[in-house]
Amino acid sequence: MNSNDVFSALKRDYKLFCCPSDAERTFLTDEDMSARMTRTDQPDERDLLDHVLLPVAHEADALATARVLEPYDPEQVTALHVVEKGGGVPDKTPVEQSEELAADSYAAVRTVFPDADDHTAYDRDIVGAIFDAVDEVGASAIAYRSRDGNRLMQFLSGDLSIKLVTRSHVPVIALPREGATE
């Protein structure tokens, strides 16, 4: 299957995609909804890949994510690294090391998209920080690569896919994993 077809279909259905279904609405808190109201000031006709926000975790992840996005030729790319804060307790890693990790990740993205911007967020709530970053940089979509591994590993490493796709106010593109079987 030609994946470009999927994307044009996605682009066509963009409006549907960005409006919550009734079922999903029940997941949303009032806060989410009010946030969503204030965030709908984007132009109606917007290309899905106008400005892609690319959340990346580390260098290898950044490189792989950027490579699978490359064939779709996004207009503009902003790499995002969220430094996971402790929020009252010390972080898992020193700030200095976290920032190195971010810089390495951006450099990896730039090997694929030389003009990519970068944005570093500091938050305990990673998904929330991604959504905030969408507004700060004015992204048209979030493109991410889900982590592999079984449920236990996903649980232990705090996989964020579900939260990301169910609560987003912009389209979320789940990029294919390299070597994933059909």
Binding site: A57, H58, A60, D61, V83, E84, K85, G86, G87, G88, V89, P90, D91, K92, T93, P94, V95, E96, Q97, S98, E99, L101, T120, A121, Y122, R124, R147, G149, M153, L156, S157, G158
Partner: protein, 788 residues
């Protein structure tokens, strides 16, 4: 910077609870039994004494923490101030100290869980383990896993844990006070207990580990100038008061016999005390015991958890300075945690837990931390006294220097009173850390400490032994250091350009040194007072600007000396130069014509590679490299390659051989080896000097290597080494490789020089010149040139 602000999310209360949560651990729940058995009612005093000693160090830590809010805390300050050798000691002591302390916390955790379930000791093959140890091992695995997987503990939870802990201790204290009988505090000091006070303080000091951990997360604290000292000092004061009240009440309210040698004494005490009350006919004894049990579990768990995390911070900082391999700090791809560091620390904790008992674990933790604290206080004194730039703490220790001096002395003194075997093991670990630095880390570490720089900057005034000792332990890391002795403003730019280009290619540092000549009649101290330093700064500022245009790191130093020329060699050694780039011309460095033997001595054992630049304009567009092979030509080849890459110049290689085909074969091979295959090859026959002269007419720069030692000494003495170097119109770079002295020789002074050819090296005067030959190999040099 807004980014920095965003990274700071620890408020004053969070920072305070980190300190209190780490400190209130197994110490107060497990050790009263031991303390009371040995010191009687004075046990309460030992906890106060421990707190006072901790407070001195806490003051120093606060100042250092606000001045340098960097990850790594105590280790970092010691490393920065006292240099990487003490840094290695502090890092290892802090790391292992935390592992011992964590093992102790887990032992206590085991005791408390076992008080609930009541198991007997367990035989595991050849080792027989106490029940507490087995439970402790399980607990340790749990907390190692929590940190390994990076499970999130919320800040709110930590505050709740610490508040409940303080609440439990407070309730116990109040209930105890209501039942206190001051008579049971008498006799205050039963016979034989006073001499136990200091040894017991050494054991219970483990209850005060944790306040320095706050500085280790200084970069995450909001408004650190205010909140860091508040948290560090506040946590020590609060914890000391809590411990003291708790102990006094414990001793006053229940019989000493119940407490002595009872590792869950506080639980039994609570059962007894709360048992005096009943609600609706039920005795509250069980409630009291349960409360204290819960307290013990919370306290040991939070301390162990915090210590495991802290040790990974220390590993990170040690890796950053390359005292341990940075690979230890790799972040797990999924969990985002420094998993290797945590796993290693975890393994240490498990080993210590199996190997040690309650007292030995707590004492090891105490002693190792006391070593760190003593060094930390010294670090403060060094930072203050050296007047190092950029040291600007928001919080300053009052009553300086009394406070850090008392802090140092009391920390080290307490060690003396600890059991000899523990001291022995601790000093074994310190010796290990020193050897680790000398044998492993010294070659990797790049940055030196403030103390080392301070000593070496004053190498002329301080005792030779001190300078020599300081030189021997300076890091020799893989930072490629290019030193440029500057004297003449006219040649500054070209020398710095050359040095910067090389430093840039090697990803290294330019060390610009102005060696200011001070007449013999003037003392160096007087010259310093008269502002000789300031005068030199103009030149160094220009050097800095020039080097920075290349984007390389620059260091500048002023050295006042009576012997300018000799100082070049000392400075190369002092500043750990890999390469020295210096000018050579009429009187560039006060050519010391009068002391030939001294010059030979100096120039025969070069402390670094040397490039001597005869400046006839800096233009590396057409470089000529005559070569006849051999190890010495490696340097000229490497320099040519670097200049070619940096300035996009053309390189011509010249080889003089009678057999053209053989010569070409040789040169092609040599060029490939030196990554200069794209260079123009020029094979000539006949007289070497004439060939160089001819080839140099098309060149802008001639790079020539010395095959043997001693070329430079002849050059510096003003001997004519090779007429062609005077005759050519282009600039000349003369390269001579360093003298490879063995580690032994470097450590123990200049006794032996491994590389010096025996015999000729020892001879004085002009005869030494005969071993000076130039490339190409035909020696065009006649012995016994006259000196000017």
């Amino acid at each position: 910077m807004s980014d920095e602000e965003l990274a700071k999310d620890l408020g004053p209360l969070a920072a305070l609870t980190i300190g209190i949560g780490t400190m209130i651990g197994a110490g107060i729940f497990v050790l009263p039994g031991t303390a009371v058995a040995r010191a009687g009612p004075l046990a309460a005093f030992t906890f106060v004494l421990g707190g006072v000693i901790a407070l001195f160090t806490a003051l120093s830590a606060s100042e250092l923490g606000t001045a340098m809010p960097k990850s790594g805390g105590a280790y970092f300050y010691v490393n920065r101030a006292l240099g990487p050798m003490f840094g290695s000691v502090a890092g290892w002591a802090n790391w292992l100290g935390l592992a011992f302390a964590s093992a102790f916390y887990m032992y206590g955790f085991g005791e408390y869980v076992n008080a609930l379930v009541g198991l007997g000791s367990v035989g595991l093959g050849p080792v027989s383990l106490e029940a507490a140890q087995v439970i402790g091992l399980a607990g340790a695995l749990l907390f190692i896993a929590v940190n390994y997987f990076g499970a999130k503990e919320t800040g709110g939870l930590q505050i709740v844990i610490v508040m409940s802990l303080l609440g439990i201790l407070a309730v116990f204290t109040v209930v105890g006070l209501l039942n206190a009988d001051m008579e049971s505090l008498r006799p205050l000091a039963p016979p034989g207990t006073t001499s136990e006070v200091l040894p017991v303080t050494g054991i219970i000091f483990v209850s005060y580990l944790g306040f320095v951990q706050i500085t280790s997360v200084a970069e995450e604290i909001k408004n650190p100038g205010r909140n860091l000292p508040l948290a560090v000092l506040g946590s020590v004061v609060i914890v000391t008061v809590v411990y003291a009240l708790f102990l006094v009440v414990l001793l006053a309210a229940v019989p000493n016999e119940l407490v002595a040698n009872n590792e869950t004494a506080v639980v039994d005490a609570a059962r007894l005390l709360f048992g005096n009350y009943e609600v609706f006919g039920y005795s509250l004894g069980a409630v009291g015991a349960g409360m204290l049990l819960l307290g013990g579990l919370l306290a040991t768990a939070s301390s162990a958890n915090a210590s495991i995390l802290s040790s990974s911070r220390i590993n990170f900082a040690m890796g950053r300075e390359k005292i341990v391999t940075p690979k230890l700090n790799e972040i797990h791809k999924r969990f985002g945690t420094p998993y290797k560091s945590i796993a290693l620390t975890g393994a240490l904790i498990l080993v210590f837990l199996v190997a040690g008992g309650v007292e030995s674990l707590s004492t090891m933790g105490s002693v190792l931390h006391l070593i760190v604290y003593g060094l930390l206080n010294l670090a403060l004194i060094v930072m203050r006294e050296s007047g190092v730039e950029g040291y600007d703490p928001d919080f300053e220790v009052p009553f300086y220097p009394a406070v850090p001096i008392i802090g140092t002395v009391s920390s080290f003194a307490l060690i003396v009173y600890i059991e000899p075997t523990i001291i022995l093991i601790s000093f074994g670990l310190v010796a290990f850390a020193v050897l680790w630095y000398l044998l492993y880390a010294r070659g990797k570490v790049e940055s030196r400490g403030v103390l080392g720089t301070w000593i070496l900057d004053r190498s002329d005034e301080l005792p030779k032994a001190a300078v020599s000792a300081a030189t021997s332990v300076q890091p020799s890391g893989d930072d490629y250091r290019v030193m440029v002795p500057l004297a003449n403003p006219a040649t500054e730019e070209h020398l710095i350009t050359l040095a910067s280009a090389i430093a840039k290619q090697r990803n290294g540092t330019v060390v610009a040194v102005n060696i200011a000549n001070v007449p013999d009649q003037t003392s160096l101290e007087a010259a310093r007072d008269r502002g000789a330093h300031e005068a030199a700064h103009d030149l160094l500022d220009r050097a800095r600007d020039d080097a920075e245009t290349f984007g390389v790191d620059v260091e500048t130093h002023v050295v006042l000396s009576h012997r300018v020329f000799e100082e070049v060699f000392d400075a190369a050694r002092t500043y750990g130069a890999d390469l020295t780039v210096m000018g050579w011309g009429e009187d560039s460095h006060g050519a010391p014509g009068r002391a030939e033997t001294a010059v030979d001595e100096l120039a025969h054992s070069l402390p670094s590679d040397f490039l001597v630049f005869r400046d006839r304009g800096f233009d590396p567009s057409r470089i000529l490299v005559p070569t006849a092979g051999g190890p010495a030509s490696d340097l000229s080849g490497a320099v040519a390659k670097m200049l070619q890459t940096e300035f996009d110049g053309e390189v011509t290689l010249l080889h003089v051989a009678d057999d053209e085909a053989a010569g070409r074969r040789f040169l092609t091979e040599w060029a490939a080896e030196h990554d200069l295959a794209d260079a123009t090859m020029r094979i000539e026959s006949g007289d070497v000097e004439a060939a160089i002269d001819r080839a140099a007419r098309d060149a802008t720069m001639l790079i020539i290597g010395a095959t043997q030692k001693g070329l430079l000494s002849r050059l510096f003495r003003g001997s004519v080494v090779l007429q062609v170097l005077e005759d050519v119109e282009c600039s000349v770079l003369l390269a001579e490789k360093r003298d490879n002295r063995s580690i032994r020789a470097r450590l123990f002074g200049s006794g032996t020089r491994a590389n010096a050819p025996s015999g000729s090296d020892d001879s004085d005067g002009p005869t030494a010149d005969t071993d000076a030959t130039l490339e190409p190999s035909t020696p065009p040099v006649e012995g016994g040139e006259t000196d000017n």
